[in-house]
């Protein structure tokens, strides 16, 4: 049984897409937790729902629609600034409006329920090779940006006041990071859906940050956990016939509980 899982094309695709998304989301998620921007990722994914739903109307790939709208939302959040972006009420209002728009788009489009399920809760077993290719390109692009900005990003995340005193623009760095976050949200929502993005983007990173004393150990652990959750989630889904998204979110949650009790 253990190897026959790889005989199916859709399973191979699921492993590939899941791994690509998990690695990138785990790294970006590490910085998100470091910066205290966990909730921003949640908000971006909801905006992405409208993008994915609207893409159907325009005849574009849902992942592309999701990416475009999350990128726009990311830049919008960056421009209005940290204070406004951390205002729960403002962010909440924007994201429920985005969900509402998504509902409208899906209503205007045919096959309402099927599409909604896929966007909201993920459809990892249905990803195409083309989507995997796109995800890989997004990942490469994201890692290229990250490799370039990682040092100042770490600096502004840990010591914003000192970074500002050295002449680094906090707002510019925030916008750059939100763009990375939008890419990671797009990737993660292909695996677990927009509603469960938190589970793959923040879950592994939060556990890793709790358990590690240095940056590289933290990032490494975050990646291991993210990939581990996705692989185990796919295998468990294969064995039980329950949704992959459920298993990934359950593993992420259990891991978080264990980590919290382990250390504190």
């Amino acid at each position: 049984m253990t190897l026959e899982i790889f005989n199916y094309d859709f399973m191979q695709n699921a492993f590939m897409a899941g791994t690509i998304a998990a690695v990138f989301a785990a790294v970006v998620g590490f910085f998100a937790v470091l910066r205290g921007q966990n909730f921003a990722s949640h908000a971006l994914s909801h905006v992405g729902f409208a993008g994915a739903a609207g893409a159907g109307l325009l005849g574009v790939n849902p992942a592309t629609g999701l990416l475009i709208l999350t990128l726009m939302a990311a830049m919008g959040m960056g421009v209005i600034g940290e204070k406004a972006a951390k205002n729960d009420t403002a962010v909440g209002m924007v994201l429920v409006f985005a969900l509402g728009l998504g509902v409208l788009f899906l209503y205007l489009y045919s096959d309402f329920a099927g599409r909604a399920m896929g966007i909201l809760f993920g459809n990892l077993l249905g990803v195409s090779r083309q989507l995997i290719k796109n995800m890989f390109i997004y990942s490469l692009l994201g890692f290229a940006i990250l490799a370039f900005i990682a040092r100042p990003l770490l600096f502004v995340s840990l010591e914003p006041e000192l970074a500002e005193a050295k002449g680094i623009s906090l707002r510019f760095m925030a916008i750059l990071f939100l763009i990375l976050l939008a890419l990671a949200v797009t990737e993660a929502s292909q695996v677990v859906g927009v509603l469960l993005v938190f589970t793959l983007l923040i879950g592994p990173a939060a556990i890793a940050i709790h358990c590690s004393k240095t940056v590289w150990v933290g990032i490494g652990l975050s990646v291991l956990l993210g990939v581990g959750f996705v692989w185990a989630g796919i295998v468990l889904a294969y064995c039980t016939d329950w949704p992959v998204s459920f298993w990934i979110s359950a593993l992420s949650f259990i891991g978080y509980l264990l980590a919290r009790n382990f250390r504190s």
Partner: protein, 278 residues
Amino acid sequence: MATEYGKIMSAIIELKNLTLRYPEQEIFADFSASVACGEFIGIFGPNGAGKSTLLRAILGLIQPDTGEILVFGKTAQCGCSAIGYVPQFQQHLSTNNLTGRVYISATINGFNWGLPLLNKQRHEQVDRVIDLVKAQKYIDRPFVQLSGGEKKRIVLAQALLNHPKILLLDEPLSGLDPGQQGKMIDLIQNLRKELNMTVLFTAHDLNPLLNVMSNIFYLAAGKALVGAVSEVVTSSKLSWLYGSPIEVIKSDDHVFVIHKQFGSNIHDTNHHRGNYEF
């Protein structure tokens, strides 16, 4: 003014007819002063007098409304590596367990693009500042778990990276009890001598610093006084500065500045809260 190699600069920082203002409010006007190399300047004044703002202006983060600030003979500019800075407030998020060493390492060349990797020479620089502030014992423990005094030493270590010639310390004593304040002042004073630095230091209480300061800046009510403690901290000078009657009482090694209307010691700010140990 810029000098030739080998000559000692007379003034390392010059404030010329400096006026600083927020968009809707003037902080202080027409302030001139110069700081010589190696001095220890205490900056005092009530909350909102512009102590932090003055330091931020020297860093080049705030542009003067009128007048100018010269640092090493050049107009103050952001990102000057010869200035080490300890901000008054730092919001360290408590969501991670990264060590103090990680915080220092992130600061060392955090303004350069690239991956946060340190070469051997940078590792040595980090070790050097850890040794300078004597933080070896707890540097590899999670930063969030450290006491207030330990955190302050790590923050000071960050300011010492890149071999600064000027240290701008914004309220480095706040939150420390009197014993720790004394240790912190001794540490800063020793570092100043050892590394030949010039120190500008804001604080609320004059007394712990009386023996180390060469000069003070006293800011209040949009005005400023410069000079030695004995010249500036007098009843007549401070009454002029505050625009209301102030009485200065001096004992052997203490100074009390009393606001006559309120009958309170101006420099007693309940800053001795907290129960930290180094």
